[in-house]
């Protein structure tokens, strides 16, 4: 398959505007400015059936169409580059290697919703990525793609980059907007939704980096071409972040609907399980989502519908692979620690529940747990789920509600033995240990 989103692998220095232009760069923007009306752009995106890559899989064109036409207030476009889901690392490579692809998507989106100001909100740790982006923005500005009267179209647009201060929650779109406004990153109550009350109280589109990167390709090559890739309901190319106990972890561009089994085992992809061990579990969409047992994982195709039908969610496409020596109690403890650490503390169930779950998980892993704790975990997770302003509570509830029943034997063994059965085994590989290939094999980035 042709690399689309990750074509920087084949095109050296794509981040340089001359190279980008030489490979068709900003032609989609030209088309959007001179050959299409904003309505036609939105219709084209709708027709492509592009769905948000940030985790929620909401149809992008529909989201854009929610922005009121002829708004009295300014409209803003915000690109969510706060990539922070554990197990996810696609945006960072795109920003480093193809910043113009992201910028062009942002500009087309601005044209579609009549926004004259766009913000690219990067996670605090993205220092290099921000530098690359700022360089690209300066180049684009010098070429007249950004600023007043871009490309002689009479359309003005300014793009700003903004780095957060290092909070997972600021990847949640309304917390991101609060943070962008200089406030504490607290998710907002909805309604009102960002489409009517977003950044600075104005209509705002918030789209993920990868989502916007798809846009120039769709505009340049048409919705029909786009829908020819992958399944009907969630088409397009997808950047999968393969991590954990595989021989070749890394970023892989594959069509939507690609079999998870092939992703893990094919020689040119994951290359099989580390050390030839048995597969135990896979989290298909980043740490927030229900875990698959090996049996479930080997049957599923990686698109929004198929993963949902199999009982999990594809989220951001962060595939975390765990082999037979992984202690699932330890793995869940690690996940709980993360969400406890990152809960903003606003809503009662999340603030208290994440901490309680972590405390129970520490007890279980260290051999102080009880059988009642196992049911209690499910109960706490149920009490958190769906009862908070944002879905951070659900992001811990979902792993709990899948880890505990699917690997109950292992949890019970911890209770019975009053210790972790993996800890005293020579085979033990901690979920959190550094005993794995040292880099995400970008160089080995491959396609099917």
């Amino acid at each position: 398959m042709e690399r689309i989103l990750s074509r920087w692998v084949d095109i050296p220095n794509l981040r340089d505007i001359e190279v980008y232009e030489a490979h068709g760069g900003y032609r989609a923007l030209r088309k959007a400015l001179f050959e299409m009306t904003p309505e036609e752009i939105i219709e084209e995106i709708k027709a492509s059936n592009l769905r948000g890559r940030g985790g929620a899989a909401f149809p992008t064109g529909v989201k854009w169409s929610f922005i009121p036409r002829n708004s009295e207030k300014p409209v803003y476009v915000v690109c969510n580059a706060d990539e922070s889901e554990p197990g996810t690392f696609a945006n960072r490579y795109q920003l480093e290697n193809d910043p113009h692809g992201v910028i062009e998507g942002v500009l087309i989106c601005c044209r579609a919703v009549n926004a004259h100001t766009a913000y690219i909100y990067l996670r605090g740790e993205f220092a290099l990525q921000k530098r690359r982006l700022d360089e690209a923005l300066a180049q684009a500005r010098a070429r007249g793609y950004i600023g007043r009267n871009i490309m002689g179209s009479n359309f003005d647009v300014e793009v700003y980059t903004h780095r957060g201060a290092g909070a997972y929650i600021c990847g949640e779109e309304t917390a991101l907007l609060e943070s962008l406004e200089g406030k504490r990153g607290y998710p907002r109550n909805r309604p009102p939704f960002p489409a009517t009350y977003g950044a600075f109280g104005c209509p705002t589109v918030v789209n993920n980096v990868e989502t916007l990167s798809n846009v120039p390709h769709i505009i340049a090559r048409g919705a029909q071409w786009y829908r020819s890739i992958g399944p009907e309901k969630s088409p397009g190319p997808k950047l999968f972040c393969l991590s954990g106990h595989v021989n070749r972890p890394g970023l892989y561009e594959l069509p939507m609907g690609f079999p998870l089994k092939d992703m893990i085992y094919r020689e040119d992809l994951g290359g099989g399980i580390l050390g030839g061990k048995k597969l135990k579990a896979v989290i298909p969409g980043g740490s927030s989502f229900p875990v698959f047992t090996a049996e479930e994982a080997l049957k599923v195709n990686m698109d929004f519908e198929s993963v949902r039908a199999a009982g999990s969610l594809m989220g951001t496409g962060g595939v975390i692979v765990m082999h037979e020596d992984t202690c699932m109690v330890d793995a869940l403890r690690t996940i709980a620690r993360f969400y406890h650490h990152e809960s903003c503390g606003q809503c009662t169930p999340c603030r208290e529940g994440c901490s309680w779950i972590e405390k129970l998980m520490i007890d279980l892993e260290e051999g102080r747990g009880t059988m009642e704790d196992l049911d209690r975990l499910i109960d706490i997770a149920s009490n958190m789920e769906g009862n908070t302003i944002c879905v951070l509570a659900d992001s811990l509830a979902m792993p709990v509600k899948s880890f505990v029943p699917k690997f109950r034997d292992e949890f019970e063994e911890h209770v019975r033995l009053k210790r972790c059965p993996f800890k005293f085994s020579a085979k033990f590989v901690s979920f959190t240990s550094s005993e794995r290939p040292s880099s995400h094999a970008v160089d080995g980035l491959s396609s099917s």
């Binding site: 809503c347 169930p349 309680w356 009862n387």
Partner: protein
């Protein structure tokens, strides 16, 4: 008016209200912590989750506005489970130190636990998070971060109402704490409102805490007398002693709030300064006497003076500290029983008092200047009466809640008022003028009174007596009534309601009002129309 159905009951709800308000109209309580009608919606406590027909997830009632055809369940099994879960979560890291907590008895954690949870704890005590306790954060506020449920009412109050933003939430997750910024303290004339809106014992008032268990307190609705705003208040008292003022909601005057100065103003009205017995000047000191002899003495001096110099040789001064009824009763007493037209009004504020601000505080520290004005008594005041006294035209002077020595200073007072034959002081607390009085009559302070004040915008609000006046002090209306009875030998109804009824007939500004009709939120008089004065 959207039609909504809550627990099977139908309501034509006013447009724009939320489900907590709509349910309240039907007498249904939706429990909540973070929601406060005077603050923005935070939606963080998750206590007000309700079930909306056709909506898969539970929704928070505070952020859900009524809509046509909405069907709401507040007591379904799902809602009850969510409510119990939220309470369990809230109590996880709560210290449960109710026996030593000043909020006990008026704590929403206690109340809702009993109403919506009542389950034993599933969380071991030793695992609770430790945070700051008994932190003195300024402006008389004590903060206990362990008791805090992080509803953010206090931070929103300082952000949105006073716009001073002295408190904020720091850290994340269950490490979150409400605190001041490093090196700063709360310094705000309205700070203690956050004690009222804190649903738990996290913010308590330094002065009130450990003084009284709240379940011993009786509550009487009244009006704060500390400035011309006249905030609606509740007086919390026990055995004739006031322990605190709390603001009482009044959309016309103060919404939900009051200033800290007004909140503590009751302290001047109790203690050693209170006058407890009638006194008369004897051999250079003030000796006590009974009411009968005091009234007889005063009446005799008035009668004697009138027969010697004519009725206009008797004058009266009344201050804007007096109630509408007291002012009117004195004015009518002077006209009817004495036959004098010399009644002056005094509205005086000491130098250095807090000035008008853009919220509640008024520079005029009198609760009833507008009432005095509406009855026409402000045009001729202290200067006019002083002039009459100095010219020898007034021999007997009655002062009602009026302290000219404090206003003029001793020497100036003597220069103007030295020629008086007889000076009668009616007041509730010791005044500087008292030293020059021939008679001092102890009267009730406004928390002990039925009656009304008129605020600077013309809102006439009802006072209710919290308890009987201390010692032998009596309401001024009774004293004036007794004097009138003594002089005219007729019975006279000196209840506040009947005086107000006559006031409403006699003074055009008050036309059509009744004391009973003032209700909880008062009634407004026309400020442009002044009544006739002397």
């Amino acid at each position: 008016m959207p039609k909504v159905t809550i627990n099977g009951q139908q309501l034509d709800a006013p447009q724009g209200i939320n489900l907590i308000q709509a349910a309240e109209m039907l007498g249904i309580e939706i429990p909540h912590y973070c929601y406060h009608p005077g603050l923005s919606i935070a939606g963080n406590c998750r206590m007000c989750l309700v079930e909306l027909q056709g909506v898969p997830k539970l929704q928070i009632a505070c952020n859900t506005r009524v809509a046509e055809g909405m069907v709401v369940h507040t007591e379904s099994p799902r809602v009850k489970k969510a409510q119990a879960a939220v309470l369990e979560f809230l109590l996880l890291n709560h210290p449960i130190d109710c026996p030593v907590c000043d909020q006990a008895g008026e704590c929403k954690l206690q109340d809702y636990y009993m109403d919506y949870d009542r389950q034993p704890s599933r969380f071991p005590l030793g695992k609770k998070n430790k945070k700051g306790k008994a932190l003195d954060i300024g402006s008389g506020l004590m903060l206990d971060q362990e008791r805090c449920i992080l509803c953010a009412r206090c931070t929103r109050f300082f952000d949105e109402v006073t716009r001073t933003s002295e408190l904020a939430i720091f850290e994340r997750g269950d490490h979150c704490v409400v605190d001041t910024y490093p090196g700063r303290k709360v310094n705000n004339p309205y700070a203690l409102n956050v004690v009222d809106i804190c649903p738990v014992g996290a913010l308590t008032e330094k002065e009130f805490r450990f003084k009284m268990r709240v379940w011993y307190l009786h509550r009487t609705p009244s009006v704060c007398g500390a400035c011309a705003r006249g905030c609606s208040i509740d007086i919390d008292h026990h055995r004739g002693r006031i322990y605190r003022y709390k603001p009482r909601y009044n959309p016309n005057v103060n919404q939900w709030w009051m200033c800290d100065e007004g909140r503590h103003s009751f302290k001047l009205l109790q203690g050693e300064n209170r006058l407890l017995k009638p006194r008369y000047q004897a051999d250079g000191r003030l000796a006590t006497e009974g009411w009968d002899t005091a009234i007889a003495r005063a009446a005799e001096r008035i009668r004697g003076c009138a027969s010697q110099y004519g009725p206009n040789a008797i004058g009266a001064l009344v201050s804007a500290q007096a109630t509408n009824e007291e002012i009117f009763a004195l004015k009518r007493f002077m006209a009817r029983a004495v036959g004098s037209t010399v009644v002056g009004g005094v509205s005086w504020t000491p130098v250095g008092a807090s000035p008008d601000d853009n919220f509640l505080i008024r520079g005029d520290k009198n609760p009833n200047t507008a009432g005095l004005k509406a009855m026409g008594l402000l045009e001729n005041g202290l200067g006019w009466v002083a002039g009459l006294v100095r010219r020898g035209q007034i021999k007997v002077l009655i002062l009602l809640r009026c302290d000219p020595v404090r206003i003029l200073g001793e020497s100036e007072f003597m220069a103007w008022f030295g020629a008086l034959d007889h000076l009668i002081v009616l007041d509730c607390i010791a005044t500087q003028t008292m030293a020059f009085a021939n008679q001092v009559m102890p009267i009730a302070a406004y928390p002990e009174l039925d009656g009304s004040f008129t605020n600077f915008e013309g809102w006439v609000q009802r006072l209710r007596p919290a308890f009987d006046p201390p010692g032998e002090a009596r309401p001024a209306l009774e004293v004036i009534g007794a004097l009138e009875r003594e002089l005219l030998k007729v019975e006279w109804n000196y209840s506040a309601a009947s005086v107000f009824a006559e006031l409403a007939q006699a003074e055009p500004a008050f036309e059509g009002l009744t004391l009973e009709g003032l209700g909880a939120h008062g009634a407004r008089i026309a400020m442009s129309r002044n009544g006739s004065g002397p």
